[in-house]
């Protein structure tokens, strides 16, 4: 049994190898093979440490995903064995299920209207908080608070109570002569209400924007001022370009998140997706089809359409991003 010394001491710095092909003379063959053995051992150890994660990934993510892809081509009611039906589920989705079409429509409205408003609100407030005032720390945390509790069940319940007929929103609007009644049961007001709830949870993108704003060198603003730029010009020509990579990141993240809105819709409509299906967002409808109606094959097909749709949208965002996203140090 040969005893080898711990390899770590003689291992080259990982960074050194990445710097380009090293122009050094070939080491003696013995040293080389020993190093290779050390690296192999290291690999084994690396994979060894990865195993728990790999098991989780294969067993809990990849496996179920592949199974759900299979299920999407079957009829499966949870009890009996899945029955293969080819593309029936997908065909039914687009040709025979008006509820599905409605669900897609309202989800798109929610994403396309809600996400930009949310990002604008987050950016605006981040800019206000960027001033160095006394107590800015306090305001930063208090503006972030809604996002911490926003996704919780209790807030959705409060939201529902607030927007009911005779609730605080209704009565204060009536005070100003705007008589809209309750929003929760109103077919045309319930989506705006859901968007408001999403916008109100601007905290996460706000914090990221704030970090981005801190990164913009003050000299740029000073130079712009010397050139006679007003606040709007500074925002347009300094802040926005310097922040574009952060905006892109937030846009991507929030868009993907918005597609998956579930909890707030489930609670506000008590799981019904009402009024008249106007809160029957994509994932809620998917859940109802799968678990309430026992049409798991159909639900799996819906999930895959969502995955593909979100992937396409992310792809498009990436493709357009090189036109408007500037990275520091990149010449344009």
């Amino acid at each position: 049994m040969t005893i080898t010394k711990p390899a770590a001491a003689k291992r080259p710095e990982p960074g050194a190898a990445a710097g380009g092909p090293p122009a050094r003379t070939a080491p003696p063959a013995k040293r080389d093979s020993r190093r290779r053995a050390a690296r192999r051992r290291e690999n084994v150890a690396g994979y060894g440490f990865l195993i728990p994660w790999l098991i989780g990934f294969l067993g809990l993510t990849l496996g179920p995903m592949i199974y759900s892809l299979y299920l999407s081509f079957t009829k499966y009611n949870l009890f009996a064995d899945p029955k293969f039906v080819g593309f029936d589920n997908y065909i039914r989705m687009f040709t025979e299920d008006p509820q599905y079409v409605q669900s897609v429509q309202i989800t798109l409205v929610y994403v396309l209207v809600g996400t930009p408003i949310k990002l604008a609100a987050a950016l605006g407030i981040a800019m206000l908080l960027n001033y160095r005032n006394k107590g800015s720390g306090f305001f930063r945390s208090s503006f972030y608070a809604p996002s911490l509790i926003g996704a919780s069940v209790s807030v959705a319940i409060v939201w529902r109570a607030m927007f009911n007929t005779g609730g605080p929103v209704d009565s204060s609007l009536s005070f100003f002569g705007i008589d809209l009644g309750g929003w929760v049961g109103n077919v045309s007001l319930v989506i705006p209400m859901m968007i408001l709830l999403a916008v109100w949870q601007f905290g996460a993108p706000m914090v990221i924007f704030l970090a981005g704003l801190k990164q913009i060198p003050v000299e740029l603003y000073e130079a712009a001022e010397v050139d006679g730029a007003g606040p709007f010009r500074k925002f347009k020509s300094v802040t926005l370009p310097m922040l574009s990579s952060v905006i892109f990141f937030n846009l991507l993240l929030e868009t993907i998140n918005a597609f998956q809105v579930f909890a707030s819709a489930y609670i506000i409509s008590n799981g019904s997706g009402g009024p008249a299906g106007m809160t029957n967002f994509y994932t809620l409808y998917l859940y109802k089809r799968g678990f309430a109606d026992g049409q798991m094959g159909y639900a799996a097909a819906m999930a895959w359409v969502l995955v593909i749709a979100v992937a396409i949208i992310a792809f498009i965002l990436f493709r357009t991003s090189n036109r408007w996203v500037h990275y520091a140090g990149e010449s344009k």
């Binding site: 009890f79 009402g274 299906g277 109606d293 026992g294």
Partner: protein
């Protein structure tokens, strides 16, 4: 040395795994023959699930207290949910093999769960652990699917028309007499809505949003909702006619759908916004609970008549008790079911909350006064209209009932035309019936 230690740990791990596997398989095996009786000295814990509200939960607490006096070694863990959530949860549990030992069960899901072998065959326990003497044969037959008894009906209920005398007094309109034609009922609702306009009180809810009202119309015409083979007893034209018949009422007579959305999951009647509602007659206690203490009585009369002299109504099991096929303690579970179905104490605890008790011993225990007596008298009064119960509902009946309700809502909002609604329902039927 290093190696040896490693080996030892591998062996230990293998031993542990094997041990765990043995324990696990030992746990889930349990394929012993059912003993004829439950051994009262055996310590057993059973899970029990029901749908309902706080009112019913308190009643079950009382029932289990009485049960534990008799069987101190059986611990019952209970959980409850609203009706739709209850079934969502059961569906996932059924798929994963983890149904509660004993369940409160609904007729519309009985066939689906029985045909998939999820419910325990109760035949070995009938006549010994589960006393069948006090239960009428036709009621025992209710829990039989394809020749096997998988459920015991606790009680029966019938479709009825509830009215709220306090609201009617407030608006100054006489109560509905019961029976009459659908037009009579609509005219009466119109009166209430007109008189109650300033107080926000309406005559009732659009009855065409409930599939049961469609069913009693079909039964009155000698047809049915679904046959045992899943054939619908109506065509598109008949369904369109039914939904069309509610158009006038939806236009300013019945409570607007928007208001119903705001009180959901309560109904307009629960929320004291409507003076009448067509529903199952065991809903009364729940209504009084939700209406609050200022409401002490309700009216209960017969639904409108579609065809004079027809047998349009029927007694339905309001709920059943079933046992999971995978329970580890079938004898104890059967003992619990027997108690819940037959014991006079349970009758005393529930009154008619679960419907009119099906078992004679339980009915004797129930002190039927007030609303409970009203329900008993109501079921006696409609005897001439009671026909044979329809067959055990088809698989997916629950889904279709819910779809019918949703479409009714959209009709109420005016977001669907009747023709679109009919197409949607037939599409859904197509999917469900061919599952």
């Amino acid at each position: 040395m290093f190696r040896i230690r490693k080996h030892r740990s591998v062996i230990a791990a293998a031993a542990l795994t094997a041990g765990a596997a043995l324990v696990l398989s030992g746990c889930s095996g349990g394929g012993s023959e059912p003993a004829a009786t439950y051994d009262p000295n055996e310590k057993v814990t059973l899970n029990f699930a029901f749908w309902g509200n706080d009112v019913r939960a308190a009643m079950y607490d009382e029932a289990f207290k009485a049960f534990n006096e008799e069987y101190p070694n059986i611990t019952v863990n209970t959980s409850f949910l609203g009706f739709p959530e209850f079934w969502e949860k059961r569906q996932t549990e059924a798929a994963g093999g983890g149904l509660p030992d004993v369940m409160q069960f609904d007729y519309s899901y009985l066939r689906q769960y029985s045909e998939n072998g999820l419910l325990l065959d109760l035949d070995p326990y009938l006549g010994n652990i589960i006393d069948t003497e006090p239960i009428a044969d036709n009621i025992l037959q209710i829990g039989v699917v394809d020749g096997t008894t998988t459920g015991i009906a606790t009680s029966t209920n019938a479709w009825g028309l509830y009215t709220n005398p306090k609201l009617l007094e407030q608006v100054g309109v006489d109560t509905y007499e019961g029976g009459g034609t659908w037009d009579d009922y609509q005219d009466w609702m119109q009166q209430v809505t007109d008189a109650g306009a300033s107080q926000g009180i309406y005559g009732g809810t659009d009855w065409t949003a409930r599939i049961q009202n469609f069913e009693i119309e079909l039964r009155a015409e000698g047809s049915y909702l679904f046959s045992e083979d899943g054939e619908p007893g109506f065509d598109k034209a008949r369904l369109a006619e039914f939904w069309e018949s509610g158009a006038e009422a939806r236009d300013g007579i019945t409570i607007p759908q928007q208001q119903l959305e705001e009180v959901y999951p309560l109904s307009g009647f629960d929320a004291a916004k409507t003076a009448s509602e067509l529903t199952w007659d065991n809903f009364g206690a729940g209504y009084l609970g939700n209406l609050g203490e200022s409401f002490t009585e309700l009216g209960l009369v017969a639904p409108p008549v579609t065809v004079e002299g027809a047998k349009d109504l029927y007694l339905k099991p309001s709920m059943l008790h079933t046992i999971s096929a995978k329970t580890d303690h079938p004898e104890a579970a059967a003992t619990l079911v027997n108690f819940l179905v037959n014991s006079p104490e349970v009758g005393a605890a529930f009154g008619t909350n679960r419907g009119l008790p099906a078992s004679e011993t339980q009915l004797e225990g129930a002190e039927l006064d007030g609303l409970d007596a009203q329900i008993r008298d109501y079921e006696a009064s409609i005897e001439d209209r009671l026909g044979d119960a329809p067959p055990v509902p088809i698989v997916g009946a629950g889904t279709l009932e819910e779809k019918f309700r949703q479409i009714g809502q959209e009709l109420g909002f005016g977001t669907l035309t009747v023709d679109e609604a009919v197409d949607q329902f037939f599409n859904e039927m197509d999917v469900v019936l061919n599952q």
